[in-house]
Symmetry: C2
């Protein structure tokens, strides 16, 4: 994939800082990757240590570019949580431990280069819309489904940021008023029903209930297949739930169906408000591929009445989208200077 | 309000074509109105006759401008329904009877002026955002609540149109999965719970049920106040429901509360996806003023968790917003030429 920085090339230093790891690269103006590396975030060390790693890794990448005769021209950094892109501040990133970190200023000062700070899902959406699965569409909604659910609305290659850097929070729209309580405190958010963690939680709940109660009136009979294969309380991941559902296990099928239906409701709401050409589904849950996209497409189709149905496709850039998007954001900032 | 076209002024011809009436004006580049007039749409005559009236009224306004020594420089027309602004076609306007009417071309040809076609709620949102209740905000959501519910997301004075001219359909987002069926065919849309027509319908249903059944176990007792004041089946408007709720009638209070709660859910979803500074509430239901906005603000407040709460204000331009917005859209098109 990467062919090394070339002599005389202009390159962007790009970092996507996540809760567990950092994806880092030197990226050309056409979006191709000259060099890529990964580092652990090790957030437990505290925010100061993480910031120092970010700065050291960025500096190392710039040095590597110069050593090869290339010119680093800018640096883009993506972080999760609430990001004030205009101010360049990581307002709140729970899983990285950042709170009001002026990361743009710190990176710019250390590297002596123009720097930008972006939101991981928004820059991921920019990358998917320009270089990935949405590259033929002008209006794209990128939806990342993992531990949480978030979206980026990208029109003509630019992602909507919102008035307070919080646009695209599709994980926190109401889909099930009587549904489970979300981490945000409200009941029935999409994230509380259809995220990978919600699917795993729901499966565990139902399996435990089945194991403990047994089928009505046959308390001593063998528990059904889903519960029989594991002791109560053992964690089963969303990917395993998908696998069991595909293998015909009834309980897993029910949990998967519930999640897909709520997700279709959420996407239908997104389409009503944004009206896009293409929805790009990314994040860990999208690795289920057509097992997710097939039923999701069919269920979304049922929900479209007078609206035009968006094309529903899997993300193409995998977990490199954030790093590529950080580079694109940095390149955009150079154009605007 | 209007002071007549002046000698040497540049003016825009603007028309907002609704199901029952057309609001028409000559508008200055600063948004002030030089002359205003209204005409019945009389949609029952069929689309050809309505189009002819639109063209004749527009021509009459241009002539009036010229007669006063002013120069008509462009024409903006707003229509409801599905509008392809890029193509200038009224794709589908049920209450006006338009289907695939190339209104921009027709108006431009008749007047010999640059013409634009806009969506009534989107241009209304532009007007409220630039000249009305949202004029101090950069990110505005204009929500029009009447027979239906629709929104316009306006950033820096421009309204998002979407990939197919259908952005902002907040009336058709899911808020009550077990709720009443919407006109669009899906159950539980916001419009099916919180529009003026939904409020009137819900009140009638509950009042009829109460009248027919009577309070449990006291079939011969006097029916409650709401039902007592009218025979079953009589239409009570949303405005009357608001009035009765304010007067302390229990049934009306319940219906009003249900509508406000669903509306707050819908606005919370809008805030999660758009992240605006200010929400401007317009349309017929907004005439209830603080009786709507007070509880709506309180209920929306409860729904905000990590999101910043938008300012919630009543629309300032009344039913002139669409006509003013059509003029602004025409002025914008001149700037881009």
């Amino acid at each position: 994939m990467t062919d090394g920085p070339g002599d005389g090339e202009q390159l962007v230093v790009a970092l996507d800082v996540g809760g567990t790891g950092m994806k880092c690269a030197l990226v050309r103006p056409d979006g191709s990757v000259a060099h890529a590396e990964r580092h652990p975030t090790d957030a437990g060390r505290g925010p100061d240590a993480v910031v120092e790693t970010v700065l050291a890794v960025a500096e190392g990448l710039a040095d590597r570019a110069r050593a090869a005769g290339s010119t680093p021209v800018a640096c883009g950094v993506a972080v999760p949580g609430v990001v004030d892109e205009a101010a360049g501040v990581a307002v709140w990133s729970a899983n990285v431990g950042f709170r009001d970190v002026p990361l743009r200023k710190l990176v710019g000062a250390r590297l002596g280069l123009p720097a930008v700070l972006g939101h991981d899902v928004r820059v991921g959406g920019i990358a998917e819309a320009r270089l990935g699965a949405g590259r033929d569409a002008r209006h794209v909604l990128f939806v990342a489904i993992g531990t949480g659910i978030a979206a980026a609305h990208v029109v003509a290659g630019s992602a909507a940021v919102g008035a307070h850097g919080a646009a695209g929070e599709i994980g926190h729209i109401l889909v099930r008023p009587d549904g489970p309580r979300c981490g945000c405190g409200r009941p029935g958010c999409l994230e509380a029903v259809s995220s990978a963690s919600a699917i795993a939680r729901r499966y565990a709940e139902l399996a435990d209930a089945t194991t403990q109660a047994g089928p009505p009136g046959v308390g001593t009979a063998a528990p059904p297949a889903g519960a029989a294969t594991r002791p109560a309380g053992t964690a089963v991941s969303a990917a395993e739930v998908a696998g069991r559902a595909a293998a015909g296990e009834e309980l897993a099928g029910q949990v998967w169906r519930e999640a897909v239906e709520a997700l279709a409701d959420g996407l239908a709401t997104g389409q009503a408000l944004y009206d896009v050409d293409t929805m790009v589904i990314g994040g860990g849950l999208a690795r289920a591929g057509e097992q997710l996209l097939g039923p999701l497409r069919a269920t979304l189709h049922e929900r479209m009445t007078f609206h035009r149905e968006p094309r529903l496709v899997a993300a193409a850039l995998g977990d490199e989208a954030g790093c590529l998007g950080a580079a694109l954001l940095a390149l955009d900032s150079l154009e605007r200077r």
